[in-house]
């Protein structure tokens, strides 16, 4: 690989040289000169390397000009371009064999900057030389430091791992020990951890005391074999080996940069710098996520060989690694720790085992109960914990059953303001509740909270219930498709719910929101903000059949419909029109499907009647100027209308006079008849201006109205006439 890289490098340079030659003759001479010099340099480098490979043992060092010259050549190349793998092999062999004594050895080691990779073979040979030749300790240390620096560039590690025991034996050398520990840390696999090695390390520990390098190696041993060794690391100690002052590091980075290589991970990847945990003593111990650690007592039946192959989750650091080991991942000792790592969450998503999830739920439930139910608190940690939980649930796209159980209890003691966004967020994640219990578990506490809390709580709750409905409907649409005919939710909730049971629950929820909304609007004087959140909900509710394939349509109650229709802001009216339009599409397509498949749908006659009723009123009000027609919900006595002195009361809520649209009508009037002094809005009602006015309104972005008018008003005749056969069933 290194060769090809070098080749391509020179190729590139020569081709670029050529292009330059074509452009200017004058420059080409200079380039040729440069090329020649470069070739010369290369030749001398090759010769130098050749010298080092052939030099005889015992050649004197002092006054050896040849050696000096060759060393200089090698150093120059090394620090500018880096050395090829072959050169590294030769030089390392030369140095470690102490062919010419210690001083050239040190000098060579210091310039061993690889251009691409380091051949494993060379490193293994060098390690063997450590034992054979009498290398001074300081040089040995230098060599190990060099191995640590280039560790990630070594082309394979299998042979190095094979001599693990050999490397381990150097650990007794006091000066070498820290570096050997680091090297072992990088090499250790589960099969390398043995009791006799643990004992050796402990023996060293008793001799050297608390040494970070021993601690880190031992803690890795603990990850692999917690049954052999135990250790608790003080929280103030940073994990990872300390960064030595390594002479090659900057040169190596420079060479790599120049070669355009991105061997991104260099040595830094070996250090896992954990986020420093807050050292102060925590009051809320239940809110700490446990650390990922390997389980101590595994399944007793699993035999030793299969256990050897398991990979602790702690050891995985990337998604690709996880995918490779998917079949043999060992779960951590505490399931709660999964919530702290995004990688582990990916794995949690595929966990099938029930007891595994149960462990997680026990932990989570206990934390929630202890910290929020048995003592309420608003600390930063509590906030962080809940936000973390929310993002986990968001990632998994479902709520945990322990948080569900917690919420049912918590709602009864909640004041509605403590951690409101988080609690409402958790609440919107709860799965479908059977309709027999939904009232007791959910509606009773929520009703109390709703009527005793501020406007903002009301809006927040509406949003939460809308999200809840959305999630329920989404689950339904996903799993109903999977299950074909057998539309039941039992595949993904532990509660068996049939389609009709599910429909009942959804219906209960929509009716409940209808009740809350009607009363809430009254209490808050038809507040526009609240109305907007309520209309959000009905936007979801109006599309249950078309979007989510659920044959159920529930109309809004009059307490929501009329305040929205008679609202003073055009946005609410427009959104109501859109909602009515969606209702219409859902009902008509349900109807036609019913006819086509002859399947008995359970959308009741009552729903159609209600819809028609609303539709007629809306058309009469906005279009026909016949607002106080008989058979409507609004009964105002004639005398009262007279008394109010409102001229033409029946036309006060048409598109022109509706308080929400009046300003548009005036604006339109001015644009249409700029010369007129007196504003006569009634003149818009003539056929031509009326259609222009509608066009004008639609251009203001009232798409809901546009859809509504196009779908529900069939004959476009002048207002006042009998029009709009809107009754559809």
């Amino acid at each position: 690989m290194a060769d090809t890289l070098n080749l391509s490098d020179s190729d590139r340079s020569s081709s670029s040289d050529q292009s330059v030659t074509n452009r200017s003759n004058n420059r080409s001479l200079r380039i040729a000169e440069k090329e020649r010099r470069k070739n010369e340099a290369e030749d001398s480098f090759v010769l130098a390397v050749k010298y080092f490979s052939e030099v005889e043992e015992g050649t004197p060092v002092f006054g050896n000009d040849q050696l000096d010259r060759n060393l200089e050549v090698v150093e120059k190349v090394a620090f500018s371009k880096g050395l090829s793998p072959e050169a590294i092999s030769v030089l390392l062999e030369f140095a470690m064999s102490l062919c010419m004594g210690n001083s050239p050895c040190v000098r060579v080691l210091k310039c061993l900057i690889p251009a691409s990779v380091v051949p494993q073979q060379a490193v293994v040979r060098a390690v063997v030389w450590l034992n054979v030749s009498k290398i001074p300790i300081s040089t040995q240390v230098l060599f190990i430091k060099w191995v640590l620096t280039v560790f990630d560039l070594i082309d394979a590690k299998d042979q190095l791992r094979a001599i693990y025991g050999f490397i381990f034996s150097f650990i007794t050398e006091e000066n070498l020990c820290p570096y050997i520990c680091h090297l072992l840390y990088l090499l250790t696999r589960k099969e390398n951890v043995h009791l006799y090695r643990v004992r050796k390390l402990l023996e060293l520990q008793s001799k050297l005391g608390r040494q970070p390098f021993l601690m880190h190696l031992l803690s890795l041993y603990k990850v692999f074999c917690p049954e052999l060794v135990t250790l608790s690391i003080p929280s103030r100690i940073r994990s990872g080996f300390k960064s030595y002052n390594l002479p090659w590091k900057s040169a190596l980075m420079g060479v790599q940069k120049r070669n355009g290589l991105q061997v991104s991970s260099s040595i830094s990847s070996a250090f896992t710098v954990k986020e420093k945990s807050i050292s102060r003593k925590r009051k809320h111990c239940h809110l700490d996520l446990p650390a990922l650690s390997s389980a101590l007592n595994k399944e007793p039946q699993s035999d030793l060989t299969s256990r050897r192959k398991m990979v602790p989750l702690v050891q995985l650091s990337s998604f690709s690694q996880m995918l490779k080991n998917m079949h043999r991942i060992e779960l951590p000792a505490q399931m709660g720790s999964l919530l702290g790592s995004s990688l582990a969450l990916q794995y949690l998503d595929c966990v099938q085992e029930e007891s595994t999830l149960l462990r997680l739920n026990f932990w989570l439930g206990c934390a929630l109960h202890e910290e929020f139910l048995f003592c309420s608190q608003t600390s930063e940690e509590a906030l962080q914990f809940l936000n973390n939980l929310l993002s986990v649930q968001h990632f998994l796209q479902e709520g945990f059953s322990s948080s569900e159980a917690f919420l049912y209890k918590f709602l009864n003691v909640w004041d509605g303001s403590l951690l409101r966004p988080q609690i409402l967020g958790l609440l919107s994640n709860i799965p479908v509740i059977p309709s027999t219990q939904i009232g007791r578990l959910l509606f009773e506490p929520l009703t109390q909270l709703f009527f005793t809390s501020s406007l903002f709580f009301k809006c927040g709750l509406m949003e939460c219930l809308n999200n809840m409905l959305l999630k329920w409907l989404t689950w339904h649409s996903v799993y109903a498709l999977e299950d074909d005919l057998d539309i039941s939710l039992n595949s993904h909730t532990s509660i068996n719910i049939t389609l009709s049971g599910f429909k009942d629950s959804v219906m209960e929820l929509v009716h409940f929101v209808g009740r809350l909304a009607s009363l809430g609007l009254q209490l808050e004087g038809c507040n526009t903000l609240l109305l907007s959140f309520i209309l959000d909900f009905y936007e979801t509710a109006s599309d249950t059949f078309l979007k989510f394939d659920l044959p159920l349509v529930v109309m809004p109650p009059p307490g929501v419909f009329y305040p929205a229709l008679l609202a003073t802001d055009p946005v609410s009216v427009d959104r109501l029109a859109y909602i009515m339009h969606r209702y219409k599409l859902n009902l008509t397509s349900a109807k036609s499907q019913e006819k086509r498949t002859e399947q008995a749908f359970h959308i009741s006659r009552q729903t159609f009647l209600e819809f028609n009723h609303y539709l007629v009123f809306m058309v009469n009000c906005l279009w026909n100027c016949r607002m106080f027609h008989a058979n409507t919900d609004l009964h105002v006595r004639e005398e009262l209308l007279h008394k109010s002195n409102v001229p033409q009361p029946w036309a006060r809520f048409d598109f022109i006079h509706h308080p929400a649209f009046m300003s548009y009508a005036v604006d339109f009037h001015q644009k249409c008849w700029p010369g007129r002094k007196a504003v006569d809005l009634d003149s818009i009602k003539q056929s031509k201006p009326w259609s222009w006015y509608l066009e004008y309104l639609f251009n203001q972005g009232f798409d809901g109205l546009k859809d509504f008018v196009h779908s529900s008003i069939t004959k476009q005749v002048t207002p006042g006439d009998e029009r709009g056969d809107s009754q559809r069933r």
């Binding site: 250790l231 101590l296 569900e404 039992n490 595949s491």
Partner: protein, 363 residues
């Protein structure tokens, strides 16, 4: 919250779980339901059925000494225990107690000397831990065996030949735990919900932390609430005919400014007479309820005690709460401390406390 009724109790325990078609997403299905419908895991739902029993058996004179090692029994009685609840232990095996002992002692040593590794299999000089089964301390066949944990150590400035002394002890137990709950757990879990400990706080903390790390369980404080304390009053007074209670002492905390604590002591004979007058006639009870104490009897008894107090001191104790109860048979504090002075009533006390602990389970 009202109990749901019997429908939930009848869910089969044998876990006749229908294997569902394999799904791409089968994650959610393994969730325990907290509702009463037929749950996949056949669990009694947390919210609806688990409540404190409204009726319990009067204490039978039990001769535990025949079943339980007297040395163990002596350890259990006569000292005050701090109580906690524990969620079910994962992969706990009663057969592995020896190796757990080694692990725990290594863990304690490692925790004591932060940053120094400790070999697990080695025998620790400074701490000797023994986990053992407290044989015989069970009541129903569903109850897992009680586990006793003892930690021995030498005092800091001990002589060379001085023997190690017991510095900390604790136990995990489950006496007459709700069979519905116990059976609903898969066999990976061992439910020993009641944890009592005695000794230095740091050792309690380390032991708890080891259990949490090893069996993926959680500990939480177990307070003995007002109702449970009232039950203790009734259960102990009811025993007076068998073993003299000598006195009935109740500590009430009344919300006044400054806070008022009232120690209410009743003569044993008076307490017994009053109890008999409140207790329903055995004949009036239905056949199966003979020998049981009903919740209404308990509250009736407490009402009578309160009204007696009111008559003398013009102070209504209903406004306050009961925080401590003691007789010659035992002592119970609302902070979760308990002392069982008479071995004959150990089972009854632990049964009530197991119930309290199970009520604390998050799911």
């Amino acid at each position: 919250m009202e109990p749901l009724g019997e429908s939930v109790m009848r869910t089969p325990h044998n876990g006749a779980v229908v294997q569902r078609r394999s799904k791409t997403r089968s994650y959610r299905r393994s969730y325990r339901s907290c509702l009463g419908t037929t749950s996949r895991l056949c669990l009694t739902p947390a919210l609806t059925t688990r409540r404190l029993n409204a009726s319990r058996r009067a204490v039978k004179p039990q001769t535990l000494t025949e079943r339980v090692d007297p040395a163990h029994l002596a350890l259990l009685v006569k000292s005050e225990w701090q109580l906690s609840y524990v969620t079910p232990l994962y992969q706990f095996r009663h057969t592995q107690l020896k190796s757990y002992s080694k692990q725990l002692s290594a863990f304690i040593v490692a925790e004591r000397q932060q940053g120094l590794a400790v070999e697990v299999s080695e025998l620790q000089n400074s701490y000797r831990v023994s986990l053992s089964v407290l044989q015989g301390l069970t009541e129903s066949e569903n109850d897992p065996e009680t586990v006793l944990i003892q930690i021995h150590s030498k005092p800091l400035f001990a002589k060379q030949d001085e023997p190690q002394r017991s510095v900390w002890s604790g136990w995990l137990t489950c006496i007459q735990g709700s069979p519905e709950y116990l059976c609903s757990l898969s066999k990976d879990f061992t439910c020993l919900p009641l944890f009592g400990s005695r000794g230095p706080e740091y050792l309690s903390r380390v032991v708890k932390s080891w259990f949490q790390k090893t069996f993926d369980c959680c500990f939480g404080p177990l307070e003995i609430n007002h109702t449970s304390l009232q039950w203790f009053v009734a259960l102990w007074v009811d025993c007076h005919s068998q073993s003299n209670i000598q006195h009935l002492k109740m500590l009430w905390t009344v919300p006044a400014e400054p806070p008022l604590q009232i120690m209410y002591t009743v003569d044993p004979q008076d307490a017994w007479d009053l109890w008999n007058s409140v207790k329903k006639e055995e004949a009036a009870k239905e056949a199966e309820e003979v020998g049981c104490i009903e919740l209404e009897e308990v509250s009736g008894y407490l009402e009578a005690l309160k009204s007696h107090f009111y008559r003398h001191f013009r102070l209504d104790l209903s406004a306050g709460i009961l925080t401590q109860v003691s007789t010659a048979l035992g002592l119970a504090k609302d902070t979760g401390r308990i002392k069982m002075s008479n071995s004959r009533h150990v089972i009854a006390t632990l049964t009530l406390l197991t119930e309290c602990a199970l009520l604390k389970m998050p799911i």
